[in-house]
Amino acid sequence: MSEKEPTMTQTPTASSNTAITDFGIDTTTMSTSEAVRDYLSRLRAGQLGSLPALTGLVALVVLFAALSDVFLSLNNLANLLAQGAGQTMIAMGIVFVLLVGEIDLSAGTASGVAGAVLAMHYAENGNLMGGMGSTVFIMFIAALALAAALAAYLRIWAGTAISLLGIVLTVSGMAANPWIEMLLALCVGTAIGCITGFLVSKIGMPSFVVTLALFLAWQGVLLQFIGEGGVIGISSSEVLNKVANGNLSILASWILYVVAAGGFAALSLGRHFRRLKRGLVTQPTTIVLFKVGGLAVIGAAATALLTINRAPNPNIEISGVPYVVPIVLALLVIGTYVLNRTRYGRHIYAVGGNREAARRAGINVTKIRASVFVVCSSVAALGAIVYSSKVGSVDPQAGGLNTLLFAVGAAVIGGASLFGGKGRVSDAVIGGTVLAVVANGLGLLRQPAAVVSIVTGLVLLLAATVDALSRRRAASAAR
């Protein structure tokens, strides 16, 4: 005791001064070279972010450009965006589920059910009872009501409201209207998510089992709605067709560019300088300017290219940014905002990082875990609108086969972790683009489906390996 005395009197002052200088480091910004060095050391420590996926994307683009002269043609690039959009959107929803460390295997077939209801409402001119038959119709309404009740029980009021809206739209039997149909698809997706969320988080079954069962069940429901060997066309509706096949006018394309690039610049720079002024942790100004400038240039180049006439046939004109670009962008912005800026998003990460810590912090873990399934199925339904529009019809295979696996793959390739706590909505976009490039490029090279599947599998395996190895590095760097 007495030997400690000198340390007692001296250490506190000495160390509190050190502490203030230690924390002084981050109040002043790092220099650019320091930031670059810091980034490199984080890479070495295994925090790779989306770097592997971006590198892979560039490599694939270079590879396919070398092997096929059509690949880099404007028409093909625009087509590629539309082909990959639906699956990318489903992946964006799945990121929410992955973040809390769960999985949703049913998102694909659930989106198929939403697409089927959309198509049936259109084809039957709003008479869903006629399309389904009265028994199935009553069960459909009952399922929506059940979903609304479960959501209310979980206090996910948005889920209740949207499920109830689904009942209203169904029962009112309004005539075919593309906007009503899309809204209805969303309602169905949300309702499905409420049921999944309840089963996983309130009943406490493993999400793998619940969603595997629901994957099969929704496939059956889809088959029941469409009928064996049936197909419901929707391409005769102008709006429904244009979602994935239409383009913005040239003027609108540039307006989109100005809004998107300008908005991004204003937000990042505004935030950066505000933080700088208050002495908070910031990146070096050069790097922020570089990011904003880089995106502005890439965006301008892409917009310029997409506003050139790209029709393969000289008699028609196709130009403008495809509608799927603003659709995916909007989802990306909303998803990123929700995850990074809202309390809800913060709690999602917390539940994924340490469920017990989240519970002790007073977070309603049950509600958060249920809600991510609602988000996932709702976004998957939006994805269904896009992919149904792309093919112009809904059949019993919609959202089945590989849709879900590709979507999960996209999220993981982009850098989201299956172990929870790590991932961003942009990961899904990057990963979705990688998979779209693989599918498109191999298709152009006239490779059979067998090769496409094998290559996609290998890409996914590679991504999972990178994830696992970087986790190991991060774990060993932390201690």
Partner: protein, 257 residues
Amino acid sequence: MTEPILDITGLNKSFGPVHVLHDVDFAVRAGEVTALVGDNGAGKSTLVKCVAGIYGTDSGRVRFRGEEVHIRGPKDAADLGIEVVYQDLALADNLDIVQNMFLGRERGSAWLLDEANMEQAARETLASLSVRTVKSVRTPVSALSGGQRQTVAIAKSVLWDSKVVLLDEPTAALGVAQTRQVLDLVRRLAEQGLGVVLISHNMADVFEVADRIAVLYLGRMAAEVHTKDVTHGQVVELITAGRSGDIGLARPENAVL
């Protein structure tokens, strides 16, 4: 003698067939440091978690500032002004220091968090606790050392305008200088009028900062004594045998059942 700010009477807690806490009475007084000691497995952490609302209790009454309260969850405890530093820290590895410190009580609106405000408050609190060698408050907790994590957990508990702070072995992973800081902090909190509970296996620390010592022996409260009335030896005896001279459990050998 001051009225206890937190007064627990007749608390029982079992995990299935295992009866962990037996009719425990425990009082925390404002402006005092109460050390809670006991052997490994005596039930110290369980008692703290019951108070924090992490575990439900089988029976028992909790009074806070003289009024009976029902703590049904961590939120209830936090609303009363009870803060806890858990033995296992309870930090989310994927979140950074600021995000962890404000977890569940983020500043700003639900739809737009006030990051700047949180970051400044976190930095000030950490600076006052002398966290060394942390480069940035935006460092993810996964990149911190054990001691740094412990300091973050402690900083998290003093960030709030709380009435009672329970620290479950807060100095277990700390070096000499940091332990000093935490012990000073414990005293400072008590001087500010908070009720402080310190769980520790280090008798020197306990005797240095505690006003009272409560000894748990196999889930029973063996004694609650003034620090100045007992010696090291007596406390050690209470911890290991449940009885020392005429203080302690009447028949500690029966406690084993």
